[in-house]
Structure formats: structure tokens, C-alpha cells
Amino acid sequence: MKLLHKYLKPYYVRMLAGFLIKTTGTLSELMLPFILSHILTNVIGKSVKEVILWGGGMIVCSAIACVFNITANRMASKVSRNFAEEMRRDLFEKTLHLSARQTDKFTIPSLESRITTDTYNVHHFVNMMQRLGVRAPILLIGGVAITLIMDAYLSMVMLAMLPLIFVTVYFISSKGVPLYTMVQKSVDAMVRVVREDVHGIRVIKALSKGEYEHRRYDKVNRRLVGNEVKAGVIMSSVNPIMTLFMNLGSVAVVAIGAYRVTDCLSTPETVIAFMQYFTLISMAMMSVTRIFVMYTKSAASAKRIAEVINTEKDIVVQSKENFPDIKTDAHIKFENVNFSYNGKRNNLSNISFQVKKGGSVGIIGATGSGKSTLVKLLLRFYDCDQGAIYINGENIRTIEKKRFCAMFGTVMQQDFLYADTVQENIKFGRSISQETMERATAIAQAEEFIKAFPEGFGHMLSQHGTNISGGQKQRLLIARAVATSPEILVLDDSSSALDYKTDAALRRALKEGLNNTTTVTVAQRVSSVKDCDLIIVLEEGNIIGMGNNEYLMEHCKEYNEIAQSQMGGAFID
């Protein structure tokens, strides 16, 4: 609940004000029964005027209660609105800043439900707490105070129940929080299946797997419902147990009261009045438990949110002392890099190479040989386990993120297009002039098809760009990458859907248009990398050949094979 404190802190004053207003409203509403009994016992039967006067008093109190309650509710709503907005904002921002490893650990569906349902749960709780959290304590404290004055001994009998109640409630809620955590986990699983199926709807339909998917969904749906029920069955017991304790207290008061009356320590009238207040206190306790149940549910969610917000960055900028610069004229330099995703088997071993500024590196190798991993290390999605990567002689661990990212233009496999215009997808929120953008699209060979859209750059993409072809997607992504004329251009298998002619034209345009840019190209086709200054052949995470095309053709059997295999196979689109 540290999280709540953190985000509610700025609003404490406002919450206090709302609390006072609500208190006033509640008190004036509590006045009503008093005035009522006053009229019935003292005023009624005397004069019409007095009856109207006191009746008028009741109306005034009601009006005050109404206005104050509305005001307080609105204030509460405002506070919780701001609270939720800020918390969600930070949560989302943090989510974007998570490293690849951390995102993998949380998983996207889970992050998504934290941003949505979990935040909503906490939001709801903060709102309701402010509304319900006033009346109940007032009734409780007021009621207890009055009974204490009336007969401290009997009051103690009743109060003796409170520790029992608190222990029970505490015990139950400590059971409840993990149960609700389970519930939220199964929400994640449910969301995952929906998300997967929406993305894979074509395959599901093609294979007529509708029923299979129904069963798959049914499983997560049932588990979610099961967990909800499990948590609910426990939490539902709070209220009856609590009420039972309170009622037992009242029974004890009556029984003990009887003895006190015989011993002349108390009067029957006190016992009667006592019972009245007892009902009031019980009602208040009921509200308290209601808040409590809500708290339990939201505590589970708050914990999940805090988990993300409190995640320490694992990719941090290191000091130059620990990772000193080296003297080199290479632009990019890999030095004995080893890396493993799971800490067991190396996905990359002993990778060393360098390339000078404006040069080009091609990486080629079988599926799963570690090509993309190498690129991910260069982009510092992960830190390498051993060895180091240098850019301009600086260890990339020491380069501040903003400066680091500004060096790169990147196209990754399965890269990201979103539901917005073509222009927006190229600009990607950066301030890029129309002219620059057009130049980038020309380099990326995207000009022609964009112009062919009736709305040109204003053409709307659907989510994940499903309304354009694979080749068009790749060209848009390349345009995005080259728009800032980056120092380093990383193309991870990003022209695989282009035909031979376009691919060749693209290479030429890149060379001419970005002559100062160092290019790192991952490709399946020899033709895409054969003009590179340096070609690296990877196999199972090891470099098995390195050099230019001629050299590799002669000295690297695998490279030669790849090249041979593609000789007859020109590419057409």
C-alpha cells in the first residue's frame, strides 16, 4: 500500500477537506433521527408553529446533507481520477522502459491487464474508500463513545468483541490477497488467449479450429471463474462472521445487563438505549467490512502495479571507470562477446569483429544461428554476458540512452506498424520535415506505392499494418529507419519480401543517400549482403566465416553453399 501513499500524497489536503465536508454532511444527516424523536417526545401536540419550525429544521438538515454529500463525492471522484491518471501514466511509462528481458518475464498480456483492470481496481477502491470511509467511522466512534458514557462496563463487553473481529478480518484478508493475486493471474491468461486468437484468426479459420479454440478459452475462462469463486467464498465469510460477533456481543450485553440490573449497577433504560446504539454500531461495522473486502481485492492489484513500477532498471548506463573507452578507429567493434538468453546454453559465443565508419557488415546464417541476437546486443536490448561492444571506442554500456538511440535507425524482424497514417508511421512521433520524410521514402523505394494510395501519406494503416502487403510494410519500416540519416543503420531481415529488382535499387539508394552511415544487414539472401565490406557467417552462435564475398566464396564452405543454393533462384515479387 506504499503505492497508494505515494500517489495519494499530493491529495491529502484535498482529501481532508473532502473528509470534513463529508463529515458535516453525515453529521447533519445523523441529526435527523434526533430531531425526529425530539419532535415526537417534546414538540408534538404543542403548536403548529413549533412543529413546522422543527420540521423545517429537518428539511434544512436534509438539504445540507444532500449538498455536502454531493460535493464531497465529487471531490473524491476528482481525487481518484487524478490518482488513477498519474498512476497509470507512470505505469505505462515504466512499462515502455522495461528491458526486453523484463518484458519477457512479465509478459505482454500481464502488463496489459496491469495497465487496465488492475489500475481500475485500485482506482475504484480509492474512490469508494473516500465515500464509504467517512460515515462508518463516524458512526462507529460516535456510537462507541456514547455507549462508553452510558455504561462503561457494558460497553467493554461489546468492545471485547472488536479484537476478535479484527483478528478474524485480518486473518481472512491475509488469505484473500494471494487469492485475488491468483484471480488477476488468470485474467492475464484469459487476456492472452483472446489476444492470440484475434491475431491468429486467419489460421484458426483456415484450420477450422474454432471449437478447439473454444475449448482452449473455456479452460482459462473456467479457471478464472474458479479462482474468483475461491476468493469470493473466503471473502464472503467476512460479513456474516463480523455480524455474528457483533450480535454475540449484544447477546452478552443483554445477559450481563440482566445481572447488573439485579445488582442495581445499571437500569433497564440504559440497556434499551444500549441496544439501539448497538444496531448503529453494527451497521457501521458492516460498511467497514465492505471497505475491507474492496481493500483486499485492490491490494492484490496494487501489488501487481507496484511490481512493475518498482522494477529496477537492469539496463543502466555504467560509468566510464568501470567500462573504459578504448582506442580504436573502428566505428562498431565487438570484442569476444558471449551471450545466453537462459544462462544455460550460449546463444552467441566469442563474437569479435569490427567495422569502420561508413562501412557495412552483412550477417548471414541459418535460421536460429544467432543473427537477430547479435543485432539485439548491438542495440543493447540485452547486455552481453562476457566481452564488450564499442561504438567509436565507447563501451555501449556507458552511452546515455538518448544519445545511444539517436545513433541508430533500426528495422527489426516483425517490426511494429500501428493504426495511424503512413506519414505518422514513418515519422513515428519524431519531428521530421515533409522534405526529409519524402527523401526517406524515396531511398526506401516506398515512394511509388505510397503515391498510389488515394490519400498518399495520409493513407490509414490498420493495426499491425494488416492492410498493406509484406513488401510494403518493409519499405515503410526502412523509410522510418533512414528518415533521420542515422549513424548506424540496422536492417534485420528487412528486405526479405522485396523483389530482386527493388532490393537492388534499395541497396543502391542506401549507398548513395547515406554514405556516412554504417550499415548492419542481417539477411537470408547472399545478394543482400554480398556487397558488404565485411560478411559474417554465423552457425549456432559461432562465427564460422568472416570476410568479403570473394574471400568467403573461396574459403567458407557454408557461405559458398548458401550462395550456390540461391544462384538459380532469382527473386521476384
Partner: protein
């Protein structure tokens, strides 16, 4: 997106929601009975305690026998009340969860029946928002509130009878104020409803945006766009929160205002009752007439008024909760009511023993009528033939595949399989006749085994391994610590795109469909591996009618028929040699590699 039927039919939604509850009448009816019982018990408890106190206050000393008796009864009552209220809570929980379960299932099953085009225009996150947040919202009000209404009704009617018996004139106060309360809530609801709809919608949009951006978090990070995207998220976040606040701002007036009207009525009853009592006392109103009232009568009437007003107040609160449930329900029902793919014809033929003769006859098609994609495409594919489709990006190659699978229906012309127009066939049998490998690999969260076995019901372990071997992915799978039981998570980092594609190829290999569709099936596989799986692919294609879209000419070259598609029209058709001789688009493409 076309949101049809903008006019909101709240009555319809309400009836429909009640329908969900009533589906579980066997739980709902006991719930109502138990609620009434526990209400009765909660009245009995005070009665016994009253009797006990009477025994204490007895003139001439406390009557301990009576005290003990009543205390005992109290214990029994309270214990029973506790048990009943727990049972009630559990029943309500079950009703609620059953409803939620059913709704989620209905929404989900609908999703799998919607035409694929639906998902191009609806954000995934919004769909998720409906299936999680909106359904939860419905649940949190529906079952609980309906029981509340049922039992409140009982209290209201009961109190009314008593009040009627005590004093008819005093009821006039309620005749005035209750309609006021009703009018007020009705009036308010009109303002509030759209606000609640807005709230649900905005939250859905927010969710949609979050989902989309999260799926691109690596790219956002690589371009250091966290700030910018965060900003944009925030405008939506603020929007959603504003919508929430606005709904709350107006929604939260309902409870206190109706409460005020109730308090006002009690005050008025008090004033009016006081005056009547005064006149009755003074004899201006004679005993036995309509306006006569005693002091006890006034006191009781006030008591019952409070009982009567309580539920009305509750109604108002429930009503504002209902508003949010209604807007949520509307969004949920909209998916459930969305037009599914046109159902199979009544007498649709179930395609069996497929030979694999496919023909396109003057097929016209456009996703939107104004923009035709295919303009009169005709071709034949005989059993066992391989047809390659070639053409520039955007020419409509993938559209042909979508039509083959009947993801869409043609605008004009027809597609025939074994002589049957595809419209006459059941979708299931038609789609079952094809095996499809797409460029966009799709794997779900589950074991590798399950992902491969997905291709055919009841595939054995041997068959799965066989397929994986043929797709050249077996040794990789074996190298994983958990082998075939490795669970593929969402965006499985450890597995490359090429490997994913190989798994989908293995999935295709396991299927025994008579026809094959390969849309850039090996685009992410390196060419050496591709050559290795080529043989298996040829094996797979043997005897099957195959449709191939590929860049690699080697695949295309050996096709029985090559179709060149340009601008939605077939411009060239024939074998490789024929087309080369012809010297058209195809030959220029082919020759471009040498130039």
C-alpha cells in the same frame, strides 16, 4: 467502423440482462427466498432482545428464566442469520460468476465466427476491454442488485400496507415525493447514460492503444520514443479519466438527491402528522374520521416511512450503478450481435473426397465496393497441379488466397471446387480441404508439440516428430531443455522468426488436406534450410492442388501454371517456358536478375 443502430435500446438491454440472471433461476429464486428469510430473522432478533429487556425491566426484579430463554433464542436467530447470509453471499457469487462465464464464452465464440475483416477495423485491446472490464462491470452490479430490488420491493409493499392502515392522508406526501424521485432519476439517467457509455468506450480505446503500443515496445525503445508514445498514451489516459470523472460527477448526485427527497418526505410527514395530531387532540378532527391520528400513529407512520424510503434510496443508487452496467452490456452485446460470417446454406454440401479441381470464373472482388481489387479473374487448377501467382506488390495475390479460403465472398463471379460453387459448401469442409502456410507465422502459448499437432486432430507423437524432422526443426527442438514440451510464450524471444515458420511448416506437414496454399511460406527461412525442406515440401505437394506465392523463382519455375497478376487482372498465364517465350512482364522480371 460502422456502428449501426445508434439509438440505444435500454429496455431491450435490461430485459436481456435479466434473461441472463433468470437463466439461473434455480439459484436466483433461493437467493430471493433466503434474503426474505434473513430479513425476517433480522426482525426476530430485536424482538427477542426486546422481550429479554422487558424481562429485565420487569417490576419486582429480573425474570432470569425469561432472560435466558430469550437470550437463547437470540443466539439461535443470530447464528441462523449468519449462516443464511453466508449461504446467500455464496449463491450470489455463483450466479454472478456463471453469468460472467457465459457472457465471456458467448463473446469469445462469437469472435471466432466473425469475418476476418472485423479484426482489421477493431483494436484488439478494445475487444479485450469488452471481454474483461465491461463484463466485470456488468457482473458487479447485476446479480447483487437484482436480488436487492426483489427484496426491497417486498419491504416497500409491506410498509405501504401498514402506512395505508395507519393514515391515508399522510400517504399523500409520498404520492407527491415518490413521483418526484422517479422523475428526477429518469431525467438524470438521460444525462448520465451517454456519459457512462462514453466512459466504457474511452476505457476501451485506452486499452486498445495500450495493447497496440505494448506490442511494439521494442521498436519504441530502439527509437527512444518512450516519451512521445507516453505522451500520446496520456492524452488517451486523461480522456478516459475525464470520461470517468464526468460520469461520476453527474452519477454521484443521484444517491444524495433521492436521499434528500426521502428525508424531505419524512420531514413533511412529521409536519403534516404533527398538525393532524394537534387537530385530532383538540377535537377539530373527530375520532374515526379519515384525518384522525394518534401520537402512536404518527410515531409508527414515521417508522414505516423510514422503512419505505430506505429501499427507494437504494433504488436510486442501484439505478446509477445500472447505468454503467448498461453501457458495458451494450458494448458486450454489440460484439455478440455482430453479424457473423454468413452462415452456411441450409443444404450446404459437406465436401468429402476432395479431388482438388479449382476454378475461378470471372471473379470480381473488393474489400470496399469502391475499390475493386480483383477484376474478372479466371483460371483453372486441376487436381494435383501447382499454380504459382506472381505479380507486383498490391496486385491482389493474397486476396486470391483469402477468397480460396472463403474469408470473404466474391462480389461477382464464382469460385468452384470439384465443380461446386464455394458458396454451396460448408465452410468447415472447404477450409478443411486446404492446408495453409502464411508469411505471418502464428503460434499460440502452449507447447511446441501442441502447436504442431494443431494441424490435425489426434496427431500422434511419432507423426509430430516426423513432421518436425521433415521441416528440419526437429534437432533444434531436441536441443531445448524441455524438447517438444517447451512452452512457447507470447513473443518468445528464444525462438527466431525463421524457426517459428519452420514450426508452422511442420504443422502443415502433419495435415492431410488435399490442397495446399503457400503464401510466402519460407520467406523467413534461410535458403540452405529451405533447400533441405524442399524435398519434404515437394513430397507434401505431390498429388495436391497447390497455390503458391513466392519470391523464389525456383519454386515458381516448376509450377504447372504461372499466373501473372497485375492491377487485379491476369495479364499472363502459362508455364515458365511459355511465359519466357512470350517476353512479357514475367520474362522481364526473370531477366532482371541478370541485368
Amino acid at each position: 467502423m460502422i456502428e449501426k443502430n445508434e439509438k440505444r435500446d435500454y429496455k431491450g438491454i435490461f430485459i436481456r440482462l435479466c434473461g441472463y440472471v433468470l437463466r439461473y433461476w434455480f439459484l436466483f429464486v433461493p437467493a430471493v427466498i433466503i434474503t426474505l428469510l434473513s430479513n425476517q430473522l433480522s426482525l426476530l432478533g430485536p424482538k427477542f432482545s426486546g422481550d429479554a429487556i422487558d424481562a429485565i425491566a420487569k417490576v419486582g426484579g429480573v425474570d432470569f428464566d425469561s432472560v435466558y430463554h430469550n437470550v437463547g433464542m437470540m443466539l439461535i436467530c443470530y447464528a441462523m442469520a449468519a449462516v443464511l447470509s453466508y449461504v446467500l453471499a455464496v449463491i450470489m457469487l455463483h450466479i454472478g460468476q456463471k453469468i460472467v462465464y457465459t457472457m465471456r464464452r458467448e463473446v469469445f465464440e462469437k469472435l471466432t465466427k466473425l469475418p476476418v475483416g472485423y479484426f482489421d477495423t477493431h483494436a484488439t485491446g478494445d475487444i479485450i476491454s469488452r471481454i474483461s472490464y465491461d463484463i466485470d462491470t456488468i457482473n458487479s452490479t447485476l446479480s447483487h442488485d437484482l436480488v436487492q430490488i426483489m427484496t426491497s420491493l417486498y419491504t416497500v409493499l409491506g410498509s405501504l400496507v401498514f402506512m395505508w392502515n395507519i393514515s391515508k392522508p399522510l400517504i399523500i406526501v409520498f404520492v407527491i415525493t415518490v413521483p418526484c424521485a422517479i422523475l428526477f432519476t429518469r431525467f438524470r439517467s438521460k444525462t448520465i447514460r451517454p456519459l457512462f457509455s462514453e466512459r466504457s468506450r474511452k476505457l476501451g480505446e485506452l486499452n486498445g492503444y495500450a495493447e497496440e503500443m505494448l506490442s511494439g515496445s521494442r521498436t519504441i525503445s530502439a527509437y527512444e520514443r518512450e516519451g512521445e508514445i507516453g505522451e500520446r498514451f496520456n492524452t488517451r489516459n486523461a480522456d478516459a479519466m475525464d470520461a470517468y470523472y464526468r460520469a461520476d460527477y453527474y452519477g454521484c448526485t443521484m444517491g444524495p438527491t433521492v436521499n434528500f427527497i426521502n428525508n424531505l418526505s419524512i420531514s413533511l410527514v412529521m409536519i403534516l402528522g404533527g398538525i393532524l395530531y394537534l387537530y385530532s387532540q383538540k377535537g377539530i378532527v373527530p375520532e374515526g374520521t379519515l384525518f384522525f391520528i394518534t401520537l402512536g400513529g404518527v410515531a409508527q407512520f414515521v417508522q414505516y416511512s423510514r422503512k419505505f424510503a430506505g429501499p427507494i434510496n437504494e433504488f436510486a443508487n442501484i439505478l446509477s450503478e445500472f447505468q454503467s452496467a448498461f453501457s458495458a452490456a451494450e458494448r458486450v452485446f454489440r460484439i455478440i450481435d455482430e453479424a457473423a460470417e454468413t452462415p452456411d446454406k441450409e443444404n450446404a454440401i459437406h465436401l468429402t473426397n476432395v479431388k482438388g479441381d479449382v476454378s475461378f470464373e470471372k471473379v470480381h472482388f473488393g474489400y470496399v465496393p469502391e475499390k475493386p481489387i480483383l477484376k474478372g479473374v479466371s483460371f483453372n487448377a486441376k487436381k494435383g497441379e501447382t499454380v504459382a501467382i506472381v505479380g507486383p506488390t498490391g496486385a491482389g495475390k493474397t486476396t486470391i488466397i483469402s477468397l480460396l479460403m472463403r474469408f470473404y465472398d466474391t462480389t461477382d463471379g464464382s469460385i468452384r471446387v470439384d465443380g461446386h460453387s464455394v458458396g454451396e459448401l460448408t465452410r468447415k469442409s472447404l477450409r478443411g480441404a486446404y492446408t495453409m502456410v502464411l508469411q505471418d507465422t502464428w503460434l499460440f502459448c502452449g507447447t511446441i508439440f501442441d502447436n504442431i499437432a494443431y494441424g490435425r486432430k489426434g496427431a500422434t507423437e511419432e507423426e509430430v516428430i516426423e513432421a518436425a524432422k521433415a521441416a528440419r526443426i526437429h534437432s533444434y527442438i531436441e536441443s531445448l531443455p524441455d524438447g517438444y514440451n517447451t512452452i512457447l510464450t507470447d513473443d518468445g524471444i528464444n525462438i527466431s522468426k525463421g524457426q517459428k515458420q519452420l514450426i508452422t511448416i511442420a504443422r502443415a506437414m502433419i495435415s492431410d488436406s488435399p490442397m495446399l496454399i503457400l503464401d510466402e511460406a519460407t520467406s523467413n527461412v534461410d535458403s540452405r534450410t529451405e533447400i533441405k525442406i524442399q524435398q519434404a515440401m515437394s513430397e507434401l505437394m505431390k498429388g495436391k492442388t497447390s497455390f503458391v506465392i513466392a519470391h523464389r523463382l525456383s519454386t515458381v519455375q516448376n509450377a504447372d501454371r504461372i499466373i501473372v497478376l497485375q492491377n487485379g487482372e491476369i495479364t499472363e498465364m502459362g508455364t515458365h517456358n511459355e511465359l519466357m517465350e512470350k517476353g512479357g512482364f514475367y520474362s522481364s522480371l526473370y531477366n532482371s536478375q541478370f541485368g
